[in-house]
Amino acid sequence: MSSLSSSAAPPAITASRSAGLRLKVEQASYAYAATDRSAPKFTLGPVSFEAQQHELVAILGPNASGKSTLLTLLAGLNKPLSGRIEVDGTEVSQLDLRLRAQRIALVQQESELLFPLRVWEYVLQGRYPYGRRLRFESEEDCLFAGNALAQVGADALRDRWMDQLSGGEKQRVILARALAQQPSLLLLDEPTQHLDIGGKVELLRRLRRLADANRYTVLVVTHELNLAAEFSDRIVLLHKGRCLRVGSPADVYDREMLEEIFEAPLEVEMRPSGRPRVILRGSR
């Protein structure tokens, strides 16, 4: 029996302390269909896992495994067809739009800006959930936006135009806007996609520091096996819409299973730090 079929049973929820519990996903599932009447084109789930404060969780899987779909459920953009997703004890789909934006921030790939915007104007947008209609930003909003820029090391960029930033700089500014929301849950959709290796490591280090030093729980969708192993506390491994495993990188990284999922010859070696490393096997 292959490693995939052997893990078809619902994944075990990682044991966790109830104190500091931030995110609770219970048997959440979703289905996309072309029309209301047609059969689903893609189904996800059921997925169950938990995340604590200060944790960095990686949602891992190859393309079309359901990572981004799961993220839309966590962000409250789509409502799960079954199951529940709770943030700080409240179901996400029950949250009012602005309240949700105060608790959950989602960092996606930047969409094209229609008109030029300065970095500080962009970051101040993160304060929107705290404003009333038509509200003009207060001193306090500027303070939070300034702190967010400082947290991502982008203080010097504040007067630059958004369209004049490099890929790495832009990524930091987008992250700063999310931090200006003062969320408790920070979701990132493939944040390393357009970065070189130096940029990827720097971003993950920064996220690790944000999770350690602040009250954030960080969830990163990625298919970067080694970065996920190096920086995350917990891995949620998805494949073809199914959640195969949830656990620490050492628990989840099984050579046979990874080879089958990613369709590549891989080696998994355990490092002295207790974190696994994945190596592509040479074709000799």
């Binding site: 962000a75 953009l77 739009l97 602005r98 309240l99 949700r100 934006a101 105060q102 959950i104 921030a105 989602l106 996606q108 969409s111 800006l113 229609l114 008109f115 030029p116 915007l117 500080w120 104007e121 962009y122 101040l124 947008q125 993160g126 929107y128 959930p129 404003g131 209609r133 038509l134 509200r135 003009f136 930003e137 909003d141 500027c142 936006a145 300034g146 504040r158 369209d163 929301q181």
Partner: protein, 338 residues
């Protein structure tokens, strides 16, 4: 960080208001009957302080009966079209969106012509019919401009071009076949002109302007986020569907309002918001009031030129705005607006 403050908005509006006042005075001065600036100011001030009997009858006629009603109509039309243009640009996430370019003005004109043919005496029907024509056209163009579930910039503009030519053909057909007692000229509906005063009280029309522009203004901080992406706006807590519905209805109302009294004047909604963006930035909390005032200034000046450049013959005011607007449209299209 220098975030926008209500004080700054007030200052910019006051400055533009002063420019509009100057434009109004200049426009009052221009025409066949000679009247100097001090005489105009005296005529305006005397009425303001209640000394109407001190105004010479000729001045009263020229200022209050002939020129000022036309200018007031121009202000209404300019403010409506510019605000609608700024609204459509955010709604469709397209910097080239404009009621005229998208065919919304032509749809409003068609609605107005049909209402005049069917029930010419019903008060307010023409405004309602123009609104319905505008709303129907923007709905059609919106769906025609989608590709793969997303609004596509180029497809949207092509849909607008198709809508303009189709609706113009229908307008020409109706104008040549229907008895034209109350329909005004073809040039009025296709090019726009401010020579005819509407039958309905201007105060009512200004109330509609305030409702339409005010509705869009209440969504201005939401529009700022929608401009950076609908999905992102949703994440930041914007009720995107509600905002889009408000802007869609209000911008259609403003277009219908303008077209019902002046025909299809082109490019105002494109030109003015862009100039205001260059001057004051793209924050909709300043862009909406600045565009309204800027549009009023543009139409007052354009109509003054239309009345005077080849006097005693008058040009349609739409010809003047198109002369400036079309080259700017091409410039913006080539520059892809950055």
């Amino acid at each position: 960080m220098r975030p926008l403050t209500p004080r700054r908005v007030a200052w910019i509006c006051a400055a533009l208001g002063a420019v509009l006042f100057v434009a109004v005075v200049i426009s009052l001065r221009m025409g066949a009957y000679p009247i100097s600036v001090p005489e105009i100011v005296m005529t305006l001030v005397n009425r303001f302080i209640g000394r109407r009997n001190e105004i010479p009858p000729d001045f009263w006629n020229v200022v209050y009966e002939i020129r000022l009603p036309r200018i007031a109509l121009g202000i209404l039309v300019g403010a409506s079209l510019s605000t609608a243009g700024a609204g459509f640009q955010a709604l469709l996430r397209n910097p080239l969106a404009d009621p005229y370019v998208l065919g919304v003005s032509s749809g409003a004109a068609l609605g107005a012509i049909i209402s005049l043919a069917v029930a010419p005496q019903t008060p307010g029907l023409i405004q309602f019919a123009a609104f319905a024509g505008a709303a129907g056209t923007i709905t059609a163009v919106y769906f025609l401009g989608r590709r793969g579930g997303q609004i596509d910039s180029a497809t949207l503009l092509l849909a607008g071009i198709v809508a303009v030519s189709f609706l113009s053909a229908v307008i020409m057909f109706l104008m040549t076949t229907l008895p034209g007692r109350d329909l005004r000229g073809m040039a009025f509906w296709l090019m726009g002109d401010l020579a005819t005063q509407p039958r309905i009280n201007l105060g009512w029309l200004y109330s509609l302007l305030i409702i339409g522009a005010g509705s869009i203004y209440t969504t201005s901080s939401d529009l700022n986020l929608i401009l950076t992406g609908e999905q992102e706006a949703r994440h930041l807590g914007v009720n995107v569907n509600r905002v889009k519905m408000v802007v869609y209805v209000a911008a259609s109302l403003l277009t219908g309002l303008a077209v019902s009294v002046s025909g299809a004047i082109g490019y105002v909604g494109l030109l003015v918001p862009h100039v205001m963006r260059m001057m004051f930035g793209s924050d909709y909390r300043i862009l909406i009031p600045a565009s309204a005032l800027g549009g009023a200034i543009l139409i007052v000046l354009a109509d003054m030129l239309a009345r005077t450049v080849v006097a005693p013959t008058e040009l349609p005011v739409g010809a003047m705005t198109a002369l400036v607007g079309a080259p700017v449209f091409i410039y913006l299209m080539r520059r892809r607006v950055r």
